[in-house]
């Protein structure tokens, strides 16, 4: 039995998970139009390789990865590309981004795929290439390109592959449902990923508020006969944070600014493991995902398998949205999600939950009151930071002190804001401060670059001027030496020429105009 460690802080908000009936999974209806953003992941957007008017088949690559930190996009069904343009996407900014729009034809015509059953015979690089080509990005919420995660480099040997089935955020049951309905695929996927990173052991961690998922994964492990450890631990928010679950299960902390691979772990979401299994064994790219549709404003909260690119409004209508005036729709969970400004925005690889709360269920935050220095936030912080200090420094834009107080260790879980009696939107301050710091670092790099270029140009101009000067001096010296050879003084000769001209002019009669 594995020893379970505790993390600092944490909170116990109402879970509200039963609302969406975890364990039941239905396909969502196919919408007439799919909108596929080119940036559904963290990193560089994909590059479209189809044209407007092209007919595409299900599973066809419609945009390819640009560089390492990028992920391709595939068509989730057959249809026609009707536009490649900026559309509303589900993003906190409410800005638009480039999307490929496909009008679906309902034929469900797919490319034929060949999977790899003998994946154990292949080396890691070939398998990673398949994962990359299948467009797999972390499905827990951040969308980190999985192929990059599977390549920690030779300096970081991996001991354990950790499947993070915590899903600690209230309301969300997408991973719970996946572990109940697709447990066999999850186990296979975990084995493939462990093979790729040459991990010696596989560990699956699930919070103890999901007994059905635990039973189902346990049964799947027994069926597979593989040596996989299943660990359960007490429910607490935010145990599902990558650094938090690692500390809970191993007792080791990921170093500040480091990644789990630094201490020999690779941590993946169950959805990512299933996507990797489908990419390798079935050869199928990532085109669908499980989304939790929940909240009391929905007549039938549920989990659905939806095509990536399905408009949010189509899914909410399917779940029977009874919209109140100024209905808020939250993308993600109530702790870390954000309100969507345009419901025509599509779901992406990172959409695990759409939450439609009634105004009484999740009331709008009251105006923030002044900080009273109660220190509750510091007690709740799972990263052992000092949120109230970070708050003051963020307001003062004191970047030095923010770095000193380890702002970048903040996982933006929202536990501090949840316990704050003054209702200060603390996490927003940290997000803003992080953005400002990243901005000024980028500006600094730019200005250093400009200085170098400016100075290089000055040097070049100076050398060019010096060269010209040297050439002029050389010409002058050559002329002088030539004159010396001829034996006549050129200056004397010029003076004499001028004198002769003058004398000529004087002898001529002056003309009056």
């Amino acid at each position: 039995m594995r020893q379970i460690h505790d993390i600092h802080g944490g909170i116990h908000p109402p879970e509200r998970k039963a609302l969406s009936r975890p364990g039941e999974l239905e396909p969502a209806p196919l919408p007439p139009v799919l909108v596929l953003p080119l940036r559904q992941h963290l990193g560089v957007p994909a590059l479209p390789i189809v044209n407007v008017g092209d007919r595409v088949l299900g599973g066809q690559t419609i945009a390819e990865a640009q560089g390492v930190m990028s992920v391709p996009v595939h068509a989730p069904t057959s249809g026609t590309v009707t536009a490649i343009e900026a559309r509303s996407i589900a993003h906190a900014s409410g800005l638009q981004d480039q999307c490929i729009v496909i009008e679906t034809d309902g034929q469900h015509e797919w490319l034929s795929f060949t999977g790899i059953t003998e994946w154990r015979a292949l080396d890691a690089a070939a398998l990673v290439e398949h994962v990359r080509a299948a467009g797999v990005a972390g499905m827990g919420g951040a969308g980190f390109p999985t192929a990059v995660k599977l390549n920690p480099g030779p300096t970081r040997p991996i001991e354990t592959l950790l499947v993070n089935g915590t899903e600690c955020e209230p309301y969300i049951t997408a991973d719970d449902t996946l572990m109940q309905c697709q447990a066999d695929e999850l186990i296979e996927g975990a084995q493939i990923l462990a093979h790729i990173v040459s991990a010696e052991s596989i560990l699956i961690g699930i919070e103890d508020n999901k007994p059905d998922a635990i039973a189902s994964v346990e049964a799947a492990i027994a069926r597979s006969g593989a040596e996989i450890e299943l660990a359960t631990f007490p429910t607490k928010y935010p145990s599902g944070g990558e650094k938090q679950i690692i500390e809970i299960l191993t007792g080791h902390q990921v170093p500040s600014g480091g990644i789990p691979a630094d201490i020999g772990l690779v941590c993946v979401n169950p959805g990512t493991a299933v996507a990797a299994k489908r990419a390798i064994i079935d050869g199928v790219p990532l085109t669908h995902r499980i989304v939790t549709l929940t909240g009391e404003a929905l007549a039938s909260p549920q989990n659905v398998t939806a095509c990536l690119g399905t408009p949010i409004t189509a899914l909410l209508t399917h779940a029977g949205l009874n919209a109140a005036p100024q209905q808020r729709i939250i993308h993600g969970g109530p702790m870390m999600g954000f309100a969507v400004s345009d419901l025509n925005a599509p779901i992406t690889k990172i959409t695990n939950c759409l939450l439609a709360p009634t105004p009484t269920e999740l009331p709008l935050p009251e105006p923030a009151k002044p900080c009273i220095r109660c220190g509750h936030c510091a007690e709740a912080c799972p990263a052992s930071l000092l949120p109230q200090q970070l708050y003051w420094y963020a307001r003062a834009k004191d970047q030095e002190q923010l770095a000193e107080h380890r702002l970048f260790d903040c996982i933006e879980c929202g536990a501090c804001a949840y316990v704050c009696p003054s209702q200060i939107p603390l996490v927003q301050y940290y997000r803003a401060a992080k953005g400002q710091i990243r901005d000024s670092e980028q500006e600094k790099r730019r200005s250093d670059n400009s200085r170098e270029r400016f100075e290089a140009r000055q040097v070049r101009l100076e050398t060019e001027a010096a060269e010209r000067e040297a050439k002029r001096a050389a010409r002058k010296a050559a002329a002088q030496s030539k004159a010396a050879e001829d034996g006549a003084d050129p200056i004397q000769a010029a003076i004499e020429r001028a004198k002769a001209r003058k004398a000529e002019q004087a002898s001529e009669p002056e003309q009056t105009p």
């Binding site: 993003h91 906190a92 800005l95 981004d97 927003q428 803003a432 953005g435 400002q436 730019r446």
Partner: protein, 203 residues
């Protein structure tokens, strides 16, 4: 000699002080030559803070001349591209009071890059000669283009262009540049303290 000094304490003290002065003077003089610092370290530090647009809006031909002028005592609020942030950083470095940006030299704007409308470019190379960071590519009678990543948005290429085919477009547009704003920047906050009579009287 010694006898004379011991008889005349005033003379002894004077000569001892003169001697010490000569020795330390020689030492300092030697150190000033031996450990001489090349360049002006304070102007280097100032130059590192300036935004390096090389635009000349401060009245000096580039960021380094302005940094040298600041080191010699010029005002720190003449740099519009750097804006408030640069003034604050300079005030911290030089331990002086930050001042508001001097509007005579321009106002703080969103960062921009130059963009050549390539169809209209006649290939005169005038902008290439004007660019302080060599960010324009091209040759005589062929189209020119701006290397957007290297352009500082200084607008020095606008004036020389004979056909006005250069635009300045915002550099930070799109979702990749967005970050969360501070909550107080989104909704106005009123933090007037009731006991602050000065603020109340002023209002």
């Amino acid at each position: 000699m010694l006898a004379l000094l011991s008889d005349q304490p005033l003379l002894a003290a004077l000569s001892a002080l003169l001697g010490l002065g000569a020795i330390f003077g020689a030492l300092l003089g030697f150190a000033a030559i031996r450990f001489r610092v090349e360049g002006n370290p304070i102007s280097d530090q100032i130059n590192a803070i300036l935004p390096q647009t090389q635009c000349g809006q401060c009245g000096y031909p580039g960021c380094r001349p302005y940094s040298e002028a600041i080191a010699d005592g010029d005002a720190i609020n003449k740099c519009p591209p750097g804006g408030e942030e640069t003034i604050q950083a300079l005030a911290d470095l030089l331990d002086v009071e930050p001042q508001p940006l001097d509007a005579e030299h321009g106002i703080e704007k969103e960062p921009v890059v130059a963009w050549i409308r390539e169809d209209e470019c006649i290939g005169c190379t005038k902008c290439i000669q004007a660019c302080p960071v060599d960010a324009i590519l091209g040759a005589a009678k062929v189209m020119h283009t701006v290397i957007a990543d290297e352009c500082t948005g200084c607008d020095l290429c606008i004036e020389p262009c004979p056909v006005d085919c250069i635009d300045l477009i915002p550099r930070k547009e799109g979702i990749g540049f967005w970050h969360w704003p501070l909550p107080e920047d989104r909704a106005p906050r009123f933090d007037i303290i009731a006991t602050d009579t000065l603020a109340r009287d002023a209002a």
